[in-house]
C-alpha cells in the first residue's frame, strides 16, 4: 500500500468502505437521494417571476447626438438599466454578453439621428442575454415605453409631427441563448445546484456529528486514523450520490423540461464534480464545528439560505445590490449557476467557463484546509 507521512491509503480506504456500507443501510438517506431532486424539480420547475432592475447594460454608440443622449438618460432614469460600459463594436458587445458581464447591449447605429429626423424610422438594436427570462423580460418590455417618453421630450417645435406615431423609430431586440424566453430553461439547470447544495451539505453535515452522538467517535479517535483520512474518506460516497442526483436532474431537464443541451456532457460533469466537492468540504467543516445533529442542521440552513438567495437562482445576480453581489461571488452556487447555464444554454467551452471554475477550485481547497484544522483529534 502507498504510504507517505500522515496519510495511509489503507486507513483511508477503510473509512470509505465503512461509509459506503452504512449508507447502503440508511434507507432515509437513500430516499432523499432520489426523492429530493424530484420534489424540488416539481416545486421549482414552475417559473419564479421577478421584476429585476438595475441590470448591467453596455452601449455601443456609433454616434452621439441629442437624441441618443436623451435616450440613454431615459434608460438610466427607468431604473431597469445601469449603463456600465461603452463598447467600441458589436464583437466586444457579444463578448461581454457571453462572459455575463452585461445583460444587455444597446447598439445605436451610425446615421441614427439623421434617419430619425427624416422620419425613416431607424432601428435601435438591443441584444439581451435571455438565459434568465425573468431578468430580461420586464426590462425589454420597458424599452418601448422609454423610447416614447424620450421622444416626446425632445421632438418639439417643427419636429413635433414625429411625436404623432407610437415612436419615431423601431427597437429590434435579439434575445440570445434562450430565444423563447423559457423560464424553465433557466430554473431547471439552476435547480441542479440548489439541490446539490442542500443534499451534499446536509448529508455530510451529519457525518461527524452522527459519530459523536452515537459515541462511535471515541472509538474512531482511539485508532491511528488521521483527520485528513476521516474527512476525505467520509465524503467519497457522497461524491457518488451527488453525481447520481446530478444525473437525475439532467435527465429531467432534457426529457421533461426540454432544456437545450448546447454544451458538452463532459463539461457538465466536470463542473458538477467540482461543485459537489466544494459543498462536501463545507458539510464536513460544519459537521466538525457542530456539537450535535441539530446544530449541524441549523448550520446547514445558515449556509443554504444565502446560497439560495444570493447566487442568482432566486433573483437575477446583476439585479442585486453591490454588497449582495459581493457575497454572492463568494458562494459556490453562484459560480455553478454560471457554469451550468453557460454550458447548457450558451454552449460555453473551457475558456468562457474558467472565470467560474477557478473560484470553485479555490473554495474547495480553502474549506478543506479549514475542515482539517477544525477536526478535533481529542474529546476535549
Amino acid at each position: 500500500m502507498m504510504r507517505w507521512p500522515g496519510f495511509s491509503v489503507a486507513r483511508w480506504w477503510s473509512i470509505v468502505l465503512k461509509e459506503f456500507l452504512q449508507l447502503r443501510r440508511d434507507r432515509i438517506t437513500f430516499g432523499m437521494i432520489v426523492g429530493l431532486p424530484i420534489v424540488q424539480l416539481a416545486l421549482f420547475g414552475f417559473a419564479i417571476n421577478t421584476d429585476p432592475r438595475h441590470l448591467s447594460t453596455a452601449v455601443i454608440a456609433a454616434e452621439h447626438s441629442e437624441f441618443t443622449r436623451s435616450y440613454l438618460a431615459a434608460l438610466r432614469n427607468s431604473d431597469y438599466f445601469d449603463i456600465v460600459a461603452t463598447l467600441p463594436d458589436e464583437a466586444a458587445g457579444r463578448q461581454a454578453l457571453a462572459q455575463g458581464r452585461v445583460q444587455f447591449v444597446i447598439n445605436i447605429p451610425a446615421g441614427f439621428t439623421r434617419k430619425l429626423l427624416r422620419g425613416e424610422r431607424p432601428a435601435l438594436l438591443v441584444e439581451a442575454d435571455a438565459t434568465d427570462p425573468a431578468a430580461t423580460g420586464m426590462a425589454l418590455g420597458a424599452l418601448n415605453l422609454i423610447a416614447q417618453s424620450a421622444m416626446r421630450k425632445d421632438l418639439t417645435g417643427p419636429l413635433a409631427r414625429l411625436q404623432a406615431g407610437p415612436a419615431a423609430y423601431d427597437i429590434t431586440v435579439h434575445r440570445l441563448y434562450n430565444a423563447e424566453g423559457n423560464t424553465q430553461y433557466n430554473v431547471v439547470p439552476g435547480l441542479m445546484g440548489v439541490i446539490l447544495t442542500m443534499t451534499m451539505v446536509m448529508m455530510t453535515g451529519l457525518a461527524m456529528t452522527r459519530e459523536r452522538e452515537r459515541g462511535t467517535m471515541e472509538n474512531l479517535l482511539a485508532t491511528p486514523v488521521r483527520p485528513i483520512e476521516v474527512m476525505t474518506g467520509k465524503i467519497i460516497p457522497y461524491v457518488a450520490i451527488g453525481l447520481i442526483q446530478a444525473s437525475i436532474i439532467l435527465l429531467a431537464a432534457r426529457f421533461v423540461f426540454h432544456v437545450p443541451f448546447m454544451g458538452s456532457i463532459a463539461a457538465i460533469y466536470i463542473a458538477a464534480l467540482l461543485f459537489i466537492a466544494a459543498n462536501l468540504t463545507v458539510g464536513i467543516t460544519l459537521s466538525s464545528l457542530a456539537q450535535n445533529q441539530l446544530q449541524a442542521m441549523q448550520l446547514t440552513m445558515f449556509y443554504f439560505l444565502p446560497n439560495l438567495l444570493l447566487s442568482g437562482f432566486m433573483f437575477p445576480f446583476r439585479g442585486m445590490p453591490q454588497w449582495a453581489q459581493f457575497i454572492g461571488n463568494l458562494l459556490p452556487l453562484t459560480h455553478f449557476n454560471r457554469l451550468i447555464r453557460g454550458i447548457l444554454l450558451k454552449g460555453s467551452g473551457l475558456a468562457e467557463l474558467w472565470p467560474s471554475l477557478w473560484p470553485l477550485l479555490l473554495f474547495t481547497c480553502v474549506v478543506m484546509t479549514v475542515a482539517v484544522k477544525f477536526y478535533r483529534r481529542t474529546l476535549d
Partner: protein, 312 residues
C-alpha cells in the same frame, strides 16, 4: 522508546472540565504483564484518566508515558500500540459483526486481515452470526465483541473501561480468566471496575475518589495502608445499633455486610472498649475480622468526601 519496565507511568496528571477539577495530580505506575485494577465510585474520574492515557483527552498538566511513548507528543504511537475499550459500546450498530472487525483490522493495517478476523469470530463463537447487524446483539455479546475488537491488533497494553458492567457472572469469570492468560503472555492491563470480587483478582489496585488517587498497591498493601481494625457484630436489630455507634469514640465507620455489622476504626483498643460497652447486656456477639477491601474502600471514600468532595 525507553524501557522503564512500566507499561504505564504517569505523574501529576490534572484535568479540568470548566471549573470542575475532575482528575487531581494523578500518578500511577503499571508494570508490564500486570493486571491493574482501577476502582472508584461513579464520577470519580476513572474514564477521564484512562482517556488521558490513550490520548483522547489532553491533560491540563502532568507528564507520563504509555509503553514508553510520551503522552500527547506520541499520541499516534500510543494509539497504534494500545487497545482501548470504551465504557459505552462504541462500535457501529449499522455494520455487521464481521464488518466491524474488518474495519478495525483495516484501520490498524493488519497484514493478515482476513485470517485475523476469521480467527476472532471463531474465538468469539460468532462465526455463524458474522453477517448479523451488530446493533442486534445483546449487551453481553456486545461487550465480548468490543473486547475482541480492541485486542485485534495485538496491543501490548489494554485499557479497559468497565468491561464487565452488566455482564452475567459466568461470562465475567471467563473474561477474567482470559485477562490472566493475556497477562501471562506479558500483556499489561489497566481495567476499571465496580466489582469487589474483580478487585481481588487484580495484581495491583488503585482507588480513586473525587478525582483524587487515594491508594495504590496490592490488595494487602492497600488494606494495610489504612491501618484499620474491624470487628463483626452479629445478632438482631443491627441497624439501630449501627446508628447508636455513630460518632462514638474509636468508631470510624459501620457497614452492614449480609448478616453482620462491620465496625472499623484506627485505634483498635479504643474501638474494642467502645464496642464492648455498646453491646453489653444485649444478645449480640462480636468477633475480630480481617479488614476487607470493601471496608477500606468505603472508609477511603467517606474520608475523601469529607476532605475533597462536595458537601453531603
Amino acid at each position: 522508546m525507553s524501557d522503564s519496565g512500566y507499561a504505564i507511568d504517569v505523574h501529576g496528571l490534572n484535568k479540568h472540565f470548566g471549573s470542575k477539577h475532575v482528575v487531581k495530580d494523578l500518578s500511577l505506575q503499571v508494570r508490564k504483564g500486570e493486571i491493574f485494577g482501577f476502582l472508584g465510585p461513579n464520577g470519580s474520574g476513572k474514564t477521564t484518566s484512562i482517556r488521558m492515557m490513550c490520548g483522547l483527552l489532553t491533560p491540563d498538566s502532568g507528564t507520563g508515558q504509555c509503553l514508553g511513548y510520551e503522552l500527547v507528543r506520541d499520541a499516534d504511537a500510543i494509539k497504534r500500540n494500545v487497545g482501548y475499550m470504551t465504557q459505552k459500546f462504541s462500535y457501529w450498530d449499522d455494520l455487521t459483526i464481521r464488518e466491524n472487525l474488518d474495519f478495525v483490522a483495516r484501520i490498524y493495517q493488519m497484514p493478515n486481515r482476513r485470517e485475523v478476523v476469521d480467527r476472532t469470530l471463531e474465538n468469539l463463537g460468532l462465526t455463524t452470526r458474522a453477517s448479523q447487524l451488530t446493533g442486534s446483539l445483546s449487551g453481553g455479546w456486545k461487550q465480548r465483541l468490543a473486547l475482541a475488537a480492541c485486542m485485534l491488533h495485538e496491543p501490548q497494553l489494554l485499557l479497559l473501561d468497565e468491561p464487565t458492567a452488566g455482564v452475567d457472572p459466568s461470562a465475567r469469570r471467563d473474561f477474567w480468566e482470559e485477562l490472566h492468560r493475556l497477562a501471562a503472555r506479558g500483556i499489561s492491563v489497566l481495567v476499571s471496575t465496580h466489582y469487589m470480587d474483580e478487585a481481588e483478582r487484580c495484581h495491583k489496585l488503585a482507588y480513586i475518589a473525587y478525582g483524587q488517587l487515594l491508594a495504590q498497591g496490592t490488595a494487602a498493601e492497600v488494606i494495610a495502608g489504612q491501618a484499620l481494625s474491624t470487628w463483626a457484630i452479629s445478632g438482631d436489630n443491627l441497624s439501630s445499633l449501627s446508628q447508636a455507634l455513630h460518632g462514638l469514640p474509636g468508631v470510624a465507620q459501620t457497614v452492614v455486610f449480609g448478616g453482620a455489622l462491620h465496625v472499623s476504626g484506627n485505634d483498635d483498643a479504643l474501638l474494642e472498649t467502645t464496642l464492648r460497652e455498646a453491646i453489653a447486656g444485649k444478645p449480640l456477639q462480636m468477633t475480630r475480622v480481617a479488614t476487607g477491601l470493601e471496608d477500606v474502600f468505603i472508609y477511603m471514600m467517606n474520608r475523601s468526601s469529607d476532605n475533597f468532595g462536595p458537601p453531603p
